[in-house]
């Protein structure tokens, strides 16, 4: 059997997914017996021009989200060349934390970054521009898109592996599936079909709680369900497969595993909160301190892929 030709591309993201790939460690040497990585800028000297001239690929693995026109161009190019496209990691699957920027406009973002931070005295409001006429010639930058988007918004995705970054176990399963060439299908998720709660070992007793509180003021009980402790844990709304790692480390689930059989992860969490919060009296706003920033709390990794996915008006603050 000839080796699979694989390209790895880092769109708008942090590079943690590339490090995650390295973290399969010795197994990487095994994996490389079955696949040929033909494009991986972080580790190899291959340029974009090479990509344009590459013949067809078997697999393109994309991490990061679509934040500028270059991301979009390369992902579409990869899609046109690859038999299988993998959205790898929370940014690729759900848009990632940078999706929180969709609460405000692109202009808000540029203004804050280049004019309002305390280290930038910028009275002329200089901002990076798409075309810059340097004395020697023109320089080009890719334009930032109005909204941050997950990969599926610009190209059909065959496999989804969520997680920030995807856990090693799931990466190995991805390579098994890719080399075996089976399990094709629309929206095929590599991960558990159950929630993080299914993998969580904590004790659940009352299944109800009076309020959702701020974590910074609370001691963390290592045995008891976080929701029952009155702390917001995204476990019920989040795809498992990670072994509930964060919860094992005694912090609530942040939701990086992404949507589970719904189109809106935050809405699913609201559903779960509705069930666990006390029903005796109408819940007061004071009892929902952990939800002072509902988008940050419920859509930390998935705002871009959520149903509404953007703020209507300028302003990215809480309520």
């Amino acid at each position: 059997m000839s080796k699979l030709k694989v390209a790895v591309y880092w769109a708008a993201g942090c590079g943690g997914c590339d490090v995650g790939l390295l973290d399969v460690n010795e197994a990487l040497l095994e994996v490389l017996k079955d696949i040929d990585i033909v494009f991986w800028p972080v580790a190899m000297d291959v340029k974009y021009k090479d990509l344009e001239s590459l013949p067809n690929l078997d697999v393109a693995i994309v991490n990061g989200s679509i934040r500028n026109e270059e991301n979009e161009h390369i992902v579409k190019l990869l899609r046109s060349k690859a038999r299988t496209l993998v959205a790898f990691g929370s940014c690729a699957c759900e848009g990632g934390t940078q999706g929180l920027a969709n609460l405000g406009s692109k202009q808000d973002m540029l203004k804050t970054v280049y004019e309002e931070t305390p280290t930038t005295g910028n009275p002329q409001a200089v901002k990076p521009s798409r075309v810059f006429k340097a004395p020697e010639g023109e320089l080009y930058l890719p334009d930032i898109l109005e909204l941050n988007k997950p990969i599926e918004s610009v190209a059909k995705v065959d496999y989804y592996v969520s997680g920030c970054p995807p856990p090693v176990k799931l990466i190995l399963r991805l390579f098994q599936i890719l080399t075996a060439g089976n399990a094709q299908g629309p929206k095929f998720y590599i991960g558990s079909d159950k929630s993080v709660c299914d993998e969580c070992r904590r004790e659940r007793v009352s299944k109800t709680v009076q309020s959702m509180n701020r974590l910074y003021r609370r001691a963390l009980d290592p045995e008891k369900c976080f929701l029952e402790q009155g702390l917001l844990c995204m476990g019920p709304a989040t795809r498992g497969g990670c072994g509930a790692k964060c919860v094992e480390a005694n912090v609530p689930c942040g939701g990086c595993g992404g949507r589970l059989n719904v189109s809106d992860q935050g809405a699913r969490m609201i559903g779960a909160l509705g069930s666990i919060l006390t029903t005796d009296e109408p819940i007061s706003i004071g009892a929902l301190e952990a939800l002072k920033d509902p988008v940050g709390a419920l859509y930390k990794y998935c705002f871009s892929s959520s149903l509404i996915g953007r703020g209507v008006r300028v302003g990215g603050g809480g309520r």
């Binding site: 590079g15 490090v19 010795e26 930058l141 920030c164 920033d293």
Partner: protein
């Protein structure tokens, strides 16, 4: 892949674009403008990405920031996680418990081990270990493995994994750790975990010594490579900044910020809270990354110090500002390096690699020391804040690539009103741009351009171990392209390398 290694292209009146710059973390693009005689007129390093963390951290709960801002960079995620949690502590007027502080430092040094190994063997090292002029397809970690054999390869992978494992034990996850919470950590470590860390740290100390020997063999004893270390074209005069402990030694997790002038004298020694009094940032229209400089020295464009406030951070800068290393083996290596150069500050950019390996040894020794600390398995790892008035929070650590600062201004209800991040690659951005201009002028003299000479330009950049993800926290991605432009500024040819 197009086979281009070895091809020679002569470019006249051109412009060269290297896109993407490869084997570094994040996206970058170098444009080089040539004149009629094939000399270099100018060169620009552009970072084509911005994600806007300063914007979308606004409105978030303060306790969410260590997890959100870790996503600024997945390569340096423990550094961002810890700088952030330190900033949140400072905002709440809170100190971590002694054990929590030690565990955080342990996590941080574990990260440093993994990251410095990543840089030397995977990213910039292949240029020295495999050869800067080798075929692109060989010039990577796989080429390193091929040359040194699977035994060395397994050692490299194993010890990088140890660094990651130390982060995982203390931080919960190796990439994007999660245990940093206001006032300390969410969990202690067990005696079993301590033993595992001790064992890994011992092995890392040996591996760091092995790597320094390898550096000796391949760089110091290789006339070409050694020549680079003293080549004035690869020197850059700048200020240096880094964290030092009370004794003036390098400390990667905590301390005062010391800034030294190009002549080695102390320019300032400040607390993190004073950072903004000293550092300001300039914006250029041709890149999304800003240009930090020393406010009081001023900004005079892309020129060298002392007239211009350009400063450098990272392994070499840290060793330049410090009196030495706080651990014995690393101190001996430090002394050997200073003796070799017979000067301080050392300003040749290729010395970054050497400094990085000395730090690898230091970080390994420091994790070992901490693993033997009596308090390290103590269960008291968190102080819970009492009611307090919130103030601006500053958090500073030394990321692998240099000084990293997080700053948050809180609202009354403990959300973020404003945030600022100054990551190391942003600090180095002016210096990297100046270095590339100087190096391009030397390397491309006469207009002969081949893949190897273009790679030499990238080598200059890789010395800084630039992390474009960090720098682009403001936009998003890792890459370089070389375009040739004629004197009238039109694209004549693109070179595929």
């Amino acid at each position: 892949m197009e086979e281009a290694g070895g091809k020679t292209m002569v470019i006249v009146e051109g412009r060269l674009t290297i896109d993407p710059v490869t084997r570094l973390e994040g996206h970058g693009k170098i444009d080089i403008f040539m004149d009629e005689r094939g000399g270099v007129k100018n060169a620009y390093l552009q970072v084509p990405e911005l994600r806007g963390f300063e914007r979308f951290c606004v409105g978030r709960l303060i306790e969410d920031l260590p997890r959100i801002t870790s996503n600024i960079c997945g390569v340096c995620s423990p550094a961002h996680h810890l700088a952030s949690v330190k900033a949140v502590d400072s905002l709440l007027g809170l100190e971590p418990t002694p054990t929590a502080a030690k565990l955080r430092e342990m996590m941080h040094n574990g990260y440093m081990i993994a990251d410095h190994i990543l840089n030397f063997y995977f990213l910039s090292g292949p240029d020295f270990l495999v050869g800067v002029g080798e075929k692109p397809a060989e010039r990577n970690i796989l080429g390193v493995l091929k040359k040194y054999g699977e035994g060395v390869g397994r050692k490299v992978i194993e010890h990088r994994a140890y660094g990651q494992r130390i982060v995982e034990i203390v931080g919960g996850k190796a990439v994007h750790p999660v245990t940093g919470v206001p006032g300390g950590l969410s969990k202690p470590i067990s005696e079993k975990e301590r033993k595992e860390i001790e064992k890994m740290a011992r092995s890392c100390v040996e591996f760091a010594e092995f790597t320094l020997q390898l550096y000796d063999e391949e760089v110091l004893k290789n006339a070409d490579h050694r020549g680079l270390l003293v080549d004035e074209d690869f020197a850059l005069t700048s200020y240096d900044a880094g964290l030092v402990d009370r004794e003036g030694h390098v400390n990667l997790y905590d301390g005062d910020i010391k800034i030294t002038a190009p002549d080695g004298s102390t320019y300032a020694k400040i607390r993190p809270e004073e950072y903004f009094d000293h550092v300001a940032e300039e914006i250029m229209e041709w890149t999304y990354v800003k240009f930090p400089y020393l406010r009081r020295v001023g900004w005079r464009g892309l020129t060298e110090a002392p007239e211009n406030g350009v400063f450098r951070v990272g392994p070499l800068a840290r060793l330049n500002v410090a009196k030495g290393m706080a651990t014995s083996k690393a101190q001996r290596e430090y002394e050997r390096m200073v003796e070799t150069f017979k000067r301080k500050p050392i300003n040749n950019i290729f010395a970054y690699h050497w400094a990085r390996l000395i730090e690898l040894l230091y970080a390994s020794e420091r994790v070992l020391e901490l693993s033997l600390d009596e308090e390290i398995t103590d269960e008291n790892v968190r102080n819970i804040p009492q009611e307090s008035t919130l103030k601006e929070g500053f958090g500073v650590v030394e990321a692998a690539r240099g000084l990293l600062l997080h700053w948050y201004k809180p609202t009354e209800d403990a959300r973020v009103e404003a945030a600022n991040f100054i990551p190391p690659t942003t600090c180095n951005n002016p210096a990297i741009n100046i270095s590339i201009r100087k190096a391009a002028g030397k390397i491309l003299r006469g207009g002969a351009v081949d893949e190897a000479s273009l790679n030499r330009i990238e080598v200059v950049m890789r010395a800084y171990d630039p992390c474009m993800a960090c720098a682009s926290h403001i936009l998003g991605g890792g890459k370089v392209e070389v375009n040739l432009y004629s004197a009238d500024g039109r694209l004549r040819r693109s070179v595929s390398i």
